[in-house]
Amino acid sequence: MGDVAENLSLTDARLAEMSLPTGGWSEAARSDALSRVRQMDLPERRDEYWKYTRPDTLTQPGAVPAALFNNDEAPIFGEMDRLNIVFVDGVFDAEASDDLSLEGIRIDRLAEASADIHWARDLYGALEAKGQDPVQRPLAALNTAFATDGVLIHVTGKPSKPINLTYHHRSETSDAILHHVIKLDAGAEVTVLENGPAAARFNKCMEVDVAHDATFHHVRAQGRDHERRAATHIFARLGTESVFKSFTLTANGVLTRNECVIELTGDDAVAHVAGACVGDGDFHHDDTVFITHDAVGCESRQVFKKVLRNGATGVFQGKILVKKDAQKTDGYQISQSLLLDEDSQFLAKPELEIYADDVACSHGSTSGAIDEDALFYLRSRGVPEGPATDLLTLAFLAEAVEEIENEDLREEINARLSAWLERHRS
């Protein structure tokens, strides 16, 4: 009894401070999502899915204040030819954003889309709702219900440059909720970039519907402000012969939970999800991935690498579910940590659940330290200990970073990683 009352109060306390945006095409989806939240309740420590990550600061009313990060490092992707869309503490900044029109793509804002956008109405909250089974993700439902803004991207062709969502953090107490919906038509192709600390607390959801033969590239850099907290979700549905590739760099952050839920629904689709994270001190990073194979001949890869030091914590919960008819599935999952000292920890829960008989699935998880022999070899050639350690660390992260197909983006990410490592040497 006591439990139930407490549980109710947690969800109610959070909901009490929020108001559901009303009117417009998303109203029905939002109210459905609110019912899901009430029915599931917000996550608590004792929930199995939150065993390694404390959800309390993500669910409590109001954000824990987060100091702004001051250093003169220029924002990532800034030098690239891109269409930049800027949010400051979760609020769209028209002045700082580029013109939203571009050939082959149509971009609307969630907060502005008063007219009925048919495709978005069919999709908004739909993939999130689908992704609640078999594991509940209440923070994503909360997002669908209360998101204040986001972008609705309809990709009809192959736009000439990437779409960059930039999230600035300016207020120490900002509590932002954004929801993006991306739909790729058959044969379309787009690259979506995301970067920036966003807010003191950030709840972000991205639903991606990739039609047959379409290709979606996603590269995200979560960095800078260490005290920020984030819970993000990606829900993707993949059609026949489509390709979905997502890479995330996470540097700093007292709490980040990145969930990625992918359903391969068309034959011969390909889904790659990768992450590289580097954390120092009270860093806590959680990658939670759930990939469902529900079609024949699909390929999925999960590659997650974590570098942890001074008591940092890394979490990986990754699952490959292969349904009965998903024959010829090729599933690969690896999660590895490089622990730079004995205080840091890596908690991994790799899972395979396979109902088809003709599949090739492999998974592995390891924790290790710097290879002393390799370090000595480098030093004996004149490379000082710091740079030698960095070189070995970058080598460790390489398998994840190499999941980024575009060379320029790969280099941007590697440059950030190098700079971070150099700043955080012992």
């Binding site: 290879d371 002393e372 022999d373 390799a374 000595f376 070899y377 480098l378 030093r379 004996s380 050639r381 004149g382 490379v383 000082p384 200990e385 740079p387 030698a388 070189l391 070995l392 970058l394 080598a395 460790f396 390489a398 398998e399």
Partner: protein, 251 residues
Amino acid sequence: MLSIKNLHVKLEEEDKQILKGVDLEIEAGKVHAIMGPNGSGKSTLSYVLSGKDGYEVTDGEALLEGEDILEMEPEERAAAGLFLAFQYPVEIPGVGNMTFLRTAVNAQRKARGEEEVSAADFLKLIRARAKELKIDAEMLKRPVNVGFSGGEKKRNEILQMAMLEPKMCILDETDSGLDVDAMKLVAEGVNALRSEGRGFLVITHYQRLLDHIKPDVVHIMADGRIVKSGGPELALEVENNGYSDILAEVA
């Protein structure tokens, strides 16, 4: 060039003395060879000189051009001009051979207050040196020593030596695992580097390498000491009769 006096070394973790008073004087421009039974302490000497962890110097000294190297970090010894071709070169997955070498060359230059080499100049140089050692360009792109055959690893050590141009080169059994032609290549690589200002310490079990790299002095190490030194004929004696006569003689 390299002056080792009364060097005593034990294992850090165990109470085991390995080097029991090594004296060795290698002059610039000279090639010294060390032979000796397995386990006599040859590799240990090379590791201690280059600064590997796990050993404790309990007595004695080692000076490189008058500077006490035993107090230096491994990278400082390298920048000072010391080079060790490893008996067992280390594989480093994820680090490209070329990146590795360029980082090393530039780190040493930086430590010595010299200009870094440009990517283009470096590329030109490494291509030429690699060709001399019959190392194909594809191997330069691969991760350091990963998937290299035993002989390729040894040739890669010599390539590194050629690129780093050290003053004092220690080669620990660089000939083992090499076929006849590769041994010739390695010897040519070494001979090409022989010069007035450079010293060599070649650790080997076989006379054959010494046919190609003619040593000035040959030492026999046994049980952590240099027990006998002589000219090239000493290596021939070992080749023909093994160590028993020599060891009996000095016992």
